[in-house]
Amino acid sequence: MDKIIKDLTSRFKVTDYIQQRPNMAYVTVQKELAISLITHMRDIEGFTHFVLLTAVDWIEDNLFQLTYILNSPDKKVDLGIRVMIDRENPTMDSAHHLWQQVATYQRELKEMFGIDFPGSPRVDESFILEGWDDIPPYRRDFDTLKYAEETYFPRDGRGSNDPAEYMKKKLYPDEEK
């Protein structure tokens, strides 16, 4: 793993190297070099299994972190690749040409975080949410509680009880308070 990281540092200027466990490490790479690095890992280093792609919202730094986890089935090692992108204009190069399954991850990220991957198949089609017109819901500034309170309302005849009091009343109706 050290040899791979040394090579990546010189070729792709990776930073923030963290060895999580002997067979798993994380690095950060610039947005412009990310797809070249991923292609290099797949074709040269044998990281042929694409594990996942997800995003983390660092709202306080005005950044989105994209995490690509790649796995080498032969060497039995994993590499997590972090890419920090601007939160105001979240766009990233697509990797769907490397693995066909990546298009699904990118479609979900477009919907849930509003991160665009121009050229990715069906990236603008809704994936999980249909007819959503609010801000992308997995962003930190989307308040689920507020949304639930505004969207849903208690049905008539539905109330809430304190469980202990309710059971006491149900089981021992004659007992005085």
Binding site: Q20, H49, V56, W99, Q101, A103, I128, R140, T144
Partner: protein, 396 residues
């Protein structure tokens, strides 16, 4: 075993016509095509998802997976919950096999906070994970045949599964959701007499496996419907991130328990079954062999489990657990394949981000859409069930 494959290879050069990108030109007004929705409520669909099929005659020309019928935003909800409150949420991400969720979440929390799990707890965790795999396989192995109207095996399987759920109830207090694996260890010891009752159940399951071999795997109709049907090409395995039994059925011996041993799997003697024909029948055989292997693994666990009282590591108050800043990816082998969780901690009481990597995310979307092209409409549900799709893990 050499089998004659029944591969239907019609001439695709003339019809339907394809555009320059290789996509079929579908004009619904021409009345040569039919649009058919299979699901979200359909006996041939696993869980709540639907397939939008474009048919030419009885052949699928185009398929699209639609999900969203179950979306509850678990990953987002977990960002507002403490780590302990995440457990009841996480297990609902896969109803059929919730123990994998408990394990990967616990393993991720332990790895980030440097908690060492006692040895007995590791064995008990392994027992819970293998029991979960067993109860799933008891339903899934005959389930493939029941999609082709051979439902008897499924009924036997459900009966056997009830016995395993009884053991789960005895061990954990719950039948479906267990909440047994927690950061630092497990919730309880083996009850008195558990081993004896479990071994009796395993003997019954041995008999069940013999019966389904006769009923399903030697059945001529089942073979004719599944041999050579739903081929998953080996070159698709990496392209679509195929893991677990579908990958093992296509000649890729991938099993997290062997490749990245966790808990005490390196002290257990097992060899995951691999085949190369990669059709529905082969995937059913791989799962049947997995079932046999799981029964054997549980026997070994019961034999080797130490009788130690210590089942929880000394941890700070778990209700106020604060995890050091960092990120971690923890994985395990579920009955469907690699099951992982990626957690990012910002050092507070709440996870910054939780992302689940379930096998169905790729199996049921990109891969299934590819595999259904040129399939006969009557084989769609068997292809789908042979991939063991689980919609909740797509739309966490």
């Amino acid at each position: 075993m050499k089998r004659n494959k029944l591969i239907w290879q019609p001439d695709r050069s003339k019809y339907p016509e394809h555009d320059s990108n290789g996509k079929p030109i579908v004009d619904l007004k021409s009345q040569k095509f039919t649009k058919l929705w299979q699901g979200p409520n359909h006996p041939g669909v696993t869980g709540n998802m639907s397939l939008e099929l474009t048919l030419s005659g009885d052949e699928v020309v185009e398929a699209k997976t639609h999900v969203g019928y179950l979306h509850r935003g678990f990953e987002k909800l977990m960002e507002r919950r403490t780590y302990m409150q995440c457990f009841p949420t996480s297990i609902r991400m896969c109803v059929a096999e919730p123990d994998s969720n408990e394990y990967v979440l616990s393993a991720a929390v332990e790895e980030l906070s440097g908690i060492e799990v006692p040895e007995t707890a590791q064995w008990l965790r392994m027992l819970a994970l293998e029991m979960a795999r067993l109860q799933v396989l008891l339903r899934v192995v005959p389930g493939i045949a029941s999609t082709l109207s051979l439902g008897l095996g499924s009924q036997w399987g459900m009966y056997m599964r009830e016995h395993i759920l009884d053991r789960f109830e005895e061990l954990t207090g719950g039948r479906i959701y267990h909440m047994y694996i927690l950061p630092g260890g497990v919730r309880g010891q083996l009850p008195d007499g558990f081993k004896k009752r479990m071994l009796e159940n395993l003997d019954m399951i041995d008999g069940f496996i013999k019966r389904i071999e006769d009923l399903i795997f030697s059945n001529n109709v089942f073979k004719k419907r599944t041999v050579g049907v739903g081929i998953l090409k080996p070159e698709w395995v990496d392209q679509f991130g195929v893991v677990g039994p579908p990958a093992r059925g296509a000649g890729f011996k991938r099993d997290v328990r062997k490749d990245y041993p966790y808990l005490k799997y390196n002290e257990i003697d097992f060899d995951p079954f691999m085949a190369t024909d990669s059709d529905i029948y082969t995937r059913a055989i791989v799962r049947k062999q997995d079932l046999i292997m799981t029964v054997d693994i549980i026997r070994q666990i019961l034999d080797k489990i130490p009788n130690d009282k210590e089942i929880r590591a000394k941890t700070p108050n778990v209700l106020h657990l604060e995890i050091p800043k960092g990120e971690v990816y923890a994985r395990s082998e579920s009955s469907r394949g690699e099951y992982g969780m990626y957690i990012v901690s910002d050092g507070s009481k709440y996870p910054r981000r939780v992302n689940l990597r379930g096998p169905s995310y790729t199996h049921a979307v990109a891969l299934l859409e590819k595999m259904l092209i040129n399939a006969n409409i009557s084989d769609v549900h068997a292809i789908m069930v042979s991939l063991q799709t689980c919609p909740p893990e797509i739309e966490r």
